[in-house]
């Protein structure tokens, strides 16, 4: 295991952890329910650690990407249903990320939102065309580390630490009305969805295959999944704590993503604001690239096309056309004028519905000794896998009714 590679892998996972949905829901969760929902972030992060580690292990040992598995394990009909649903949810997520990029660039430069959406899409497409896979992942992941300013801001504002630490213990706040209870439940489901987005699994496992992972990389996979995502979730938790401390007393439940940057401006002034906006910009740009490529990977793997960024764009023409088309359609969705916050909510609800179908075939394969040999799931991975499968299934059933009953929280 190369320590430099490992460190870069962990830092990339940290910087690439947050996306526009997490920014929005972290800010709102803290201002509406104080520190209580920190536990929802912590538990969901264990879930994404479990499934990412499984994805990476299956990619390294069986060399099978998620959508190839899905077609074989779920059959053509259910596999195609999952592909269509997951494609749509990831496309909406990609549009939300592009809209988020436009908004952040608008706050940074003052240039018109639509122009910034178009410009950022072109820059993302150019970087995806030119850079090899590893450097696409690293560039955005490492630059996303500017978001660490939120963690430093939490320390600077001296929050009530016993309350912050108490937030890690799962609990339901006392004295909530039925309406508030429904809203709380919606936030739990939304956080689970935002942290465990299915595109992350598609991107991570396809990336493992792109980088030619083998059994020798299993330790790197485990450490990157657990440490990288564990540290990454600290960024979201920092935003929750800052919102509880700074936004809740001021009656603010951020309605536009740009408001989140105020959390770093309050203690650090202009440098804090600029670092926060830059961190948000690169983290959201990374998520836009991941969602776009995850959709191109899914379609190509399902239909058995040549895929991957390890080869030149013209060597995998259908894959290349797929990611270009996804990016352009996502941009068109944004340019229709639909609000970024609405896109975020749709992507959260769609994604949670497709989550059980994404993780089920993966878990079957990771449990299968005939495929995985000595690297098949042991009792801990099996137990956690089924536990989180249960959580995401319950969340998938509850998501749409909760969304309708609470008008999105």
């Amino acid at each position: 295991m190369n320590p430099l590679e490992l460190t870069l892998g962990i830092m990339t996972a940290v910087g690439g952890f947050v996306d526009i949905s997490q920014l929005v829901f972290s800010g709102q969760a803290g201002s509406k329910f104080g520190y209580v929902l920190i536990s929802a972030f912590a538990i969901s992060t264990i879930g994404i650690m479990v499934f990412s580690e499984m994805c990476g292990r299956v990619a390294a040992v069986a060399h099978q990407p998620v959508f190839s598995l899905m077609r074989h394990r779920l059959g053509l009909k259910l596999g195609l249903f999952t592909l269509i649903f997951s494609f749509l949810s990831t496309l909406i997520t990609c549009a939300a990320e592009i809209g988020g990029l436009g908004m952040i660039l608008n706050h940074l430069t003052g240039a018109p939102y639509a122009v910034m959406c178009i410009a950022s899409t072109l820059v993302l497409m150019a970087s995806m065309w030119v850079l090899p896979f590893k450097w696409i992942e690293r560039t955005y992941g490492l630059l996303g580390l500017f978001m660490v300013v939120f963690v430093v801001a939490v320390v600077a504002i001296h929050p009530p630490w016993p309350k912050v630490i108490g937030g890690f213990v799962p609990q339901v706040p006392q004295g909530l009305s039925t309406k508030e209870m429904l809203s709380f439940s919606y936030f739990v489901v939304a956080i689970l969805s935002a942290v465990m987005f299915p595109y992350e699994a598609y991107f991570y496992s396809s990336g493992g295959i792109e980088e030619g992972w083998g059994a020798k990389d299993l330790l790197t996979n485990r450490v990157t999944s657990i440490v990288g995502m564990g540290l990454g979730t600290l960024l979201s938790i920092a935003i929750v704590a800052l919102a509880a401390q700074l936004f809740a007393p001021a009656n603010v439940a951020p309605q536009i993503p740009g408001s989140v940057a105020l959390q770093a401006a309050i203690p650090f002034g202009k440098p804090g604001l600029l670092l926060a906006l830059l961190g948000m910009l690169f983290a959201v740009a990374g998520a836009a690239v991941e969602t776009c490529m995850a959709n191109a990977y899914s379609v190509s793997q399902f239909f058995g096309w040549e895929w991957g960024r390890h080869s030149k764009p013209w060597d995998a023409p259908r894959f290349t056309i797929a990611w270009i088309a996804v990016m352009l359609v996502a941009l068109l969705i944004v340019l229709t004028g639909v609000e970024v916050m609405s896109l975020v909510e749709y992507s959260i609800v769609f994604s949670i519905v497709v989550l059980p179908l994404s993780y089920f075939p993966l878990m079957l394969l990771a449990n299968d000794k005939s495929y995985m040999g000595q690297y098949a799931n042991k009792w801990l991975a099996k137990g956690l896998g089924w536990l989180f499968f249960g959580f995401v299934t319950i969340a998938a059933i509850a998501a749409i009714p909760l969304y309708l009953l609470t008008s999105g929280g």
Binding site: L108, G110, S177, G258, L262, L277, I400
Partner: protein
């Protein structure tokens, strides 16, 4: 699936008046409070000019869209939201906070009703 969702869709579609407007009152309260926070931090020199200008545009646009979504725009809360919209971009933070507090009171009273 459609049958299972029907009761929820009916509940969501049938609400009217203050009950249905509660989400918009809550949004307006937060947007007004965000505006106050932006102006307070701008006064302290903590924000860039580009950020302040674009936040003002976004906040005003969102407030207009929220006001347009109310089922009862002539209500007390509708008038409060219109009053906020008449404020200049650089309105004093304490004035905006006062509007946010009034909207919060209306929100709380409707929630407990």
């Amino acid at each position: 699936m459609r049958r299972a969702l029907l009761p929820f869709l009916l509940i969501a579609a049938c609400s009217k008046g203050p009950e249905a407007d509660l989400q918009y009152i809550s949004q307006a309260r937060s947007l007004t409070a965000e505006w106050a926070l932006v102006n307070e931090q701008a006064e302290r020199g903590h924000l860039t000019a580009a950020y302040v200008d674009t936040m003002h545009q976004d906040l005003r646009q969102q407030l207009q869209s929220t006001a347009a979504s109310l089922t009862n725009p002539r209500s007390a809360y509708g008038r409060q939201i219109q009053a906020v919209l008449r404020e200049p971009d650089d309105a004093p933070p304490h004035e905006l906070r006062a509007y946010a507090s009034k909207l919060k009171q209306i929100e709380d009273s409707l929630e407990s009703a």
